[in-house]
Symmetry: C2
Subunit: 143 residues, 2 copies
DNA sequence: TCACAGTTTAGAATTATTCTAAACTGGTTG
DNA sequence: CAACCAGTTTAGAATAATTCTAAACTGTGA
């Protein structure tokens, strides 16, 4: 077996067990999307961009499935949704504690490691409410 | 002239000059929307919510005009757009330095004064980019 | 009072996203 | 290993927020 094929098989096997552990049936589509997504640990995709990517790779997956899958992965804790743009939703393969630069012009997200930024003085939330997350978005533009 | 009418006339006059200063022609619709918006200094509205409010007040303004006006006011620096919800855009009458609690369940925004929260350690942006704003959103839920 | 640039508007158009109902497919069972 | 079925995928319709368009209207300066 050629090296590339061996690696691909390996990736598929890894992805499959990762999905199973997350309680998701490893269907062809989910394995293919997950393989693309989790190849790198700091990817930021849009439903549209991921659909383009998977399509260009010659794989046939409907846009509806991409949406479904992104939401399922998010619920399973494999992805995190990032809300920075009124026009579309981003999903981040980095689910750990971290923040973002957002390039408003290009619609590009860049991770800022969690230890880098410190947010002090967050007041106690109104009674009966629990803090779920503190998001910091550093909006930047081409000067 | 009755007290209420006198106050209303006063508000209208104030609003009118405020709009003129912002370089916006004080049309009936703009004056009416501005009067509602800037009565309080910490309002958070949605195009839909503002349109409902103005309609219930018996004023006839189209939804398209509400959208136009919110964007014009934002460009003129009278409002600030807040992006916290993938489903809709919020506009904030507080344009100063401050942050927000966002009640995910209710879709409600609450201001956190600018001095309260301190963000330290924001890294220099990638070359050629300038920081435009640092947004902090404290997402909370009913416990 | 006139004229016109700037506004408003109804309704169509657009765009991201979700829904629906029918076809399909992993995984399990006999 | 064949049949079954709950869970998935899909095309296309539906939805919802927002923007666009072209025609009617209105402040404002002369």
């Amino acid at each position: 077996m050629a090296k590339a094929a061996r690696e691909s098989k390996n990736l598929t096997a890894l992805t499959t067990s990762r999905l199973r552990q997350a309680g998701l049936r490893p269907t062809r589509q989910r394995v293919e999307l997950a393989s693309l997504l989790f190849r790198d640990h700091d990817r930021h995709v849009t439903a549209e961009s991921l659909h383009d990517e998977v399509s260009k790779a010659g794989v046939k997956v409907s846009l509806a499935t991409v949406y479904n899958t992104l939401h399922q992965f998010t619920q399973a804790g494999l992805l995190r949704q990032v809300i920075v743009d009124a026009a579309r939703s981003y999903f981040d393969t980095n689910t750990g504690d971290h923040q973002h630069f957002f390039l408003e012009n290009e619609g590009l997200l860049i991770d800022i490691p969690g230890e880098t930024i410190a947010v002090a003085g967050v007041p106690a939330p109104p009674p009966g409410l629990a803090v779920e997350r503190v998001d910091v978005v550093v909006r930047v533009r081409r000067a």
